[in-house]
């Protein structure tokens, strides 16, 4: 197994399809017989990133690269960007609107979850341009 690449379009504002990309990646990793702990962490991190693109950025693209020792995920959107990343990373901080909160989102735990369950996390963001998040999960 050298490197397997997957790419998914994440539609904006479509909550009925949110979570599809992470579900597909999880299924694929299971088929590959990948490390179960790494699968669990990839599923959590990717789900949160995917949902954030749906809610906050009008959708985007998820690119996943699977290596024998790690999974690398890039979540790319052309949304509004994040003005204060440090603040956004705080537990409980959320700008989710009410209609989204009533669906169970908006705890402000998405980015903290990603941080907790990945081995590396980098956010490149520019207000008015978009956000790209790079995540690495190691298979220990």
């Amino acid at each position: 197994m050298s490197c397997i690449k997957m790419k998914y379009e994440v539609p904006g504002d479509d909550f009925t399809r949110a979570g599809e990309a992470s579900s597909m990646v999880k299924r694929k990793l299971k088929q590959l017989g990948y490390n179960p702990d790494a699968i669990r962490r990839v599923a959590i991190a990717m789900y949160e990133g995917e949902i954030n693109m749906v809610i906050h950025a009008g959708g985007g693209v998820a690119e996943v690269e699977v290596y024998p020792d790690r999974v690398e995920i890039a979540l790319i959107d052309q949304g509004p960007g994040i003005a204060d990343v440090e603040m956004a990373m705080q537990e409980g901080y959320s700008t989710a609107p009410d209609n989204v909160r009533s669906l169970g989102f908006g705890a402000g735990m998405g980015l903290p979850n990603i941080k907790k369950y990945t081995d590396a996390m980098r956010i490149d963001t520019e207000v008015g341009k978009g956000t790209t998040m790079y995540l690495t999960v190691k298979a220990k």
């Binding site: 959590i44 949902i51 907790k116």
Partner: protein, 110 residues
């Protein structure tokens, strides 16, 4: 205790995903905020909640919850029911609230 045994002991009604009835329940987690549950629920736990939408099914699937128990007769959306059938995630419902359900589950697991 399997999901099916739990359903009998706690008088829960299956709404979807009966094919997962033999899954073992390792414990429980109560919560309605999805990313809170995403971060904390552990594999095999029964998820006690009032969230019966399609995103709840996604969380339960990704986290390998043994089942979802909807409390206070909370409704399961039709698209959520279909997704739960597809994924084989058992979804059950009770007229008891989340506190009563967690208490009963804890006693049943002793």
């Amino acid at each position: 205790m399997t999901v099916e045994e739990c359903a009998q002991k706690l008088s829960l009604r299956f709404l979807a995903g009966e094919e997962g009835a033999q899954t073992e329940i390792s414990g429980g987690y109560v919560g309605d905020l999805l990313s809170w549950v995403m971060g904390r629920l552990e594999e095999g736990q029964a998820w006690i909640t009032v969230m019966g939408n399609i995103n709840a099914i996604a969380v339960a699937t990704l986290k390998d919850a043994s089942c979802i128990i909807l409390t206070d007769e909370a409704p399961l959306d039709e698209d959520a029911r279909r997704r739960a059938e597809l994924e084989g995630v058992p979804v059950l419902v009770t007229d008891k609230n989340s506190y009563q359900t967690a208490l009963a589950l804890g006693q049943a697991l002793l």
